[in-house]
Amino acid sequence: MKILFVDDERDVEDLFRQKFRKEIKSGHLELAFAFSGQEALDLLNSEDPPKFVYVFSDINMPGMSGLELLEEIKSRFPAIQVSMISAYGDQENYDKAMSSGAKGFFTKPVDFEKLKLEIAALTSGK
């Protein structure tokens, strides 16, 4: 199962790869990273249809914001699940994300147990 993480902070990649070491090793998960909204869209567009089933995106990024990316993905690839991960866990961002079709909303610092459950639910649901 392919999952895409989008964040302008590059160290996110190290963090998640270590967190999901076992899942990656076992082949349960395949992780990809993009560092801007545009990069994420380019990556999704490079496969037809994209093999990614889930995108986790930061909101606060230069250029295209995570919420804009959410709308783009939802309109182009409605099958892909999108959840937001943001430092700003306020109501306004939450409402905006949910109304745009986000599946979940995680705040930074990320609670990995919750995230793993979310991913696990996705796997089991399949």
């Binding site: 160290d11 963090l15 230069p62 610092p109």
Partner: protein, 726 residues
């Protein structure tokens, strides 16, 4: 018939002009003695030893010389040579100047105009050195007359004007009147008859006051002459009757001749043939007897015209020939022209066509030369008149000013005396006033103190305001700062937690039996832990620098310059600004990019000041292109801020750090672009800006010896560029 009479009238004026110059104008005021009585006086004085240096004797000599110059120029010249010698030996300057002038008169009467100018000029030089310059105006008037006779009307008018000015200053009304007469002559020749008449009337008024009967006669004669030319013979007759009556009373042959000649012209115009004939005959006989050459020619030709008009061709021919001969002797082109015209008509009537043609040809050539010189004179005199009126105005203004100066000096003196008097009378009041003044001084001193206090308060307020602006901008940044600290803190938290987990994994691995342990995994985990520790340190430092930056920003500037990594500074400010905007406006969305010269050197600058400047510029840029209103109205625009930095050399090879901040917002209208660096100028809604940001930024750039510029195109972009010396 009428035509020829008109021409004859023109001719008459030329004679009148000559008569005035030659016989009448240079008369000295108060001159009453005859040549005989003067000679007798001189003979009497010669009996006294040393008479030759007696000024009374020398004055008598000049008076005699004057009369001789008019009656017999040649003998006058012989007499004046001796007179001049005597004056010089006696070192009698006034006498010498007078003698030189009279010499000039004699030469002028002989027709030697160039020679007369030389003598007048010498006379003028001496006269100007004498106290009061009393002789100057008269000499100037005579010089003007020579210029008039030479046809230099411009020069003549100027000189007459100078003469009038001098005459006013020396209160010499005779010379003033003479100069007025001469100006009138020029106007007469230029056909400015009303002006001429006005000048003659001014002259008449002066002579009536002075009581110079001869000159009063001249004035009436000349006014009548003008009126005749104006075709007002009845008015002319009235004036000439007065003049003739006066001349008879005076028993002066010159004036009787002159007035009878003018009367004859008038009667001829009125067709009173008998009266005209009688008067012409009187003029002819008197001129002949007294040797008045030009008047003689004038009356001969005038009578010839009268006879011709009345069918007496033979008499007309005879008189006309005599008149022509006389005119030729006197070298009078106007008279020669008129005589030839008359003769050609008479010859034609008699069938003598050969003579008629000869006369007509002569008439033509004189007429042409007269007309040519007349038109030249006209041109010159137009210029002269302009110059003349200009100078007349200057003179009037100057005399008015002089009167004003005298008046105000007197007024000032009177006022001063009054003040002195009052001051003296009110010494007590003065003391009181002095005390009042002292009180006022004290009052002013205390007011000054109050003002200084107010000023220092104002300065303190200003400093507070600047601090407030700093705090306000800090407030704007708080959210950005929080985010910027939050992110590294998250990493610190995540990586340290992760590392703890990894250590637990190692422990679990170690708890296994040795043969079940995976040494490769242990190595992997250990190296991850090492990387994580690096990350923790790195993000810790990142948060640290942000906090330090924030503190620096809020602290008052030390003004100390330090070598600064410009790239870091720019990146930090840009990110802070971006996240600040993002934090405060949930819908905020903008892109930014940097284009920083790769080998940007460290620059010596006050980092906290420059970072404030850059933060301001970045905040403004993000606000401009990404504020909610703008984005709503311009959904097609993708808000973007670009920061560039490079080193540039100016024309003097001086190196500058050039940092530009560009946004693709609405641009700044030309109408307000000049105001944006002014304190408290803001376009943001109330409560959204202090209006001090750009003003302080500008001050910071200036304090660094740099510049802050703005360039903007409406609907396209705005670029702020700061130049800092490297």
């Amino acid at each position: 018939m009428k035509h020829s009479i008109g021409d004859l009238r023109c001719m008459k004026q030329a004679i009148a002009v000559f008569a005035i110059c030659a016989y009448l104008l240079p008369y000295l005021p108060g001159h009453s003695q005859t040549a005989e009585s003067l000679k007798a006086d001189m003979d009497r004085l010669e009996r006294v030893p040393g008479y030759a240096s007696d000024t009374a004797y020398l004055n008598k000599g000049n008076e005699l010389g004057f009369i001789l110059a008019e009656s017999s120029p040649d003998s006058a010249i012989r007499f004046l040579d001796i007179q001049l010698q005597l004056c010089r030996e006696a070192n009698y300057k006034t006498g010498e100047a007078e003698a030189l002038k009279i010499y000039g008169n004699a030469l002028q009467n002989k027709g030697d105009f160039i020679g007369s100018i030389e003598y007048y000029t010498s006379a003028l030089a001496i006269a100007k050195g004498l106290e009061g310059e009393v002789l100057v105006p008269g000499i100037l008037n005579n010089i003007g007359l020579v210029n008039y006779n030479l046809g230099n009307y411009a020069e003549a008018l100027n000189t007459f004007y100078e003469a009038i000015k001098g005459a006013d200053q020396t209160k010499n009304s005779n010379v003033k009147a003479a100069a007025l007469n001469n100006i009138a002559l020029i106007y007469f020749e230029l056909d400015k008859l009303d002006d001429a008449k006005e000048k003659y009337r001014e002259m008449l008024a002066i002579y009536q006051v002075v009581g110079n009967q001869g000159r009063v006669i001249l004035a009436y004669n000349n006014i009548g002459d003008v009126e005749l030319k104006q075709k007002r013979p009845m008015e002319a007759l009235k004036n000439l009757k007065i003049a003739y009556q006066s001349a008879m009373e005076l028993e002066s042959p010159e004036f009787i001749e002159m007035t009878s000649r003018t009367l004859a012209d008038i009667y001829s115009e009125l067709d009173s043939t008998e009266k005209a004939e009688q008067l012409y005959l009187q003029s002819i006989s008197m001129s002949q007897a007294n040797g008045y050459g030009v008047p003689y020619a004038h009356s001969l030709i005038g009578l010839a015209g009268l006879y011709y008009k009345n069918g007496k061709a033979e008499e007309a021919l005879d008189l006309g020939k005599q008149g022509l001969a006389q005119a030729e002797t006197m070298a009078q082109p106007m008279l020669m022209r008129n005589a030839n015209e008359l003769l050609s008509r008479i010859y034609e009537d008699q069938g003598n066509f050969e003579e008629a043609l000869k006369s007509f040809q002569l008439f033509k050539s004189y007429n042409d030369s007269i007309n040519t010189s007349h038109s030249q004179r006209l041109t010159a005199s137009l210029e002269a008149e302009y110059e003349f009126s200009k100078r007349a105005m200057e003179y009037e203004r100057a005399s008015l000013r002089q009167r004003w100066v005298i008046f105000s000096a007197c007024a000032g003196l009177v006022a001063f005396l009054i003040v002195l008097f009052v001051e003296f009378r009110n010494k007590k009041n003065l003391d009181k006033a002095y005390h009042a003044l002292q009180e006022k001084t004290n009052e002013i001193a205390s007011k000054n103190e109050a003002l200084e206090k107010a000023l220092s308060q104002l300065k303190a307020a200003q400093a507070q305001l600047i601090q407030a602006e700093k705090m306000a901008s800090l407030g704007e940044l708080t959210a950005g700062i929080a985010h910027e600290i939050q992110n590294p803190l998250n990493f610190v938290t995540n990586f340290s937690e992760l590392s703890t987990e990894l250590i637990q994994e190692i422990q679990q691995e170690r708890a296994k039996k040795p043969e079940e342990q995976d040494p490769q995994l242990l190595d992997e985990i250990l190296s991850d832990i090492q990387v994580n520790m690096g990350k923790i340190a790195q993000h810790g430092k990142r948060a640290d620098s942000i906090v330090k930056g924030m503190l620096e920003h809020s602290r008052a500037s030390t003004g100390e310059k330090v070598q600064t990594d410009v790239k870091n500074l720019i990146n930090e400010c840009l990110r802070l600004s971006f996240h600040g905007m993002r934090a405060r406006d949930k819908t905020f969305s903008a892109d930014f990019e940097t284009e920083l010269q790769a080998d940007l050197p460290q620059v010596n600058l006050v980092a906290q000041d420059i970072s404030r400047l850059l933060l301001n510029l970045c905040n403004n840029a993000f606000y401009a292109c990404a504020n909610p209103d703008f984005r709503r109205e311009n959904p097609e625009v993708k808000p973007k801020v670009k920061v560039t930095a490079k080193i540039e050399k100016d024309g003097k090879s001086k190196e500058w750090l050039k940092i530009s901040v560009t946004d693709n917002g609405p641009g700044i209208p030309q109408s307000i672009i000049g105001k944006i660096f002014q304190p408290f100028f803001t376009t943001k809604p109330a409560g959204h800006g202090t209006g001090l940001g750009l003003s302080l930024s500008y001050d910071i750039a200036k304090a660094h010896g740099g510049e802050l510029d703005v360039k903007s195109v409406l609907g396209e972009f705005t670029t702020f560029t700061v130049f800092l010396p490297v």
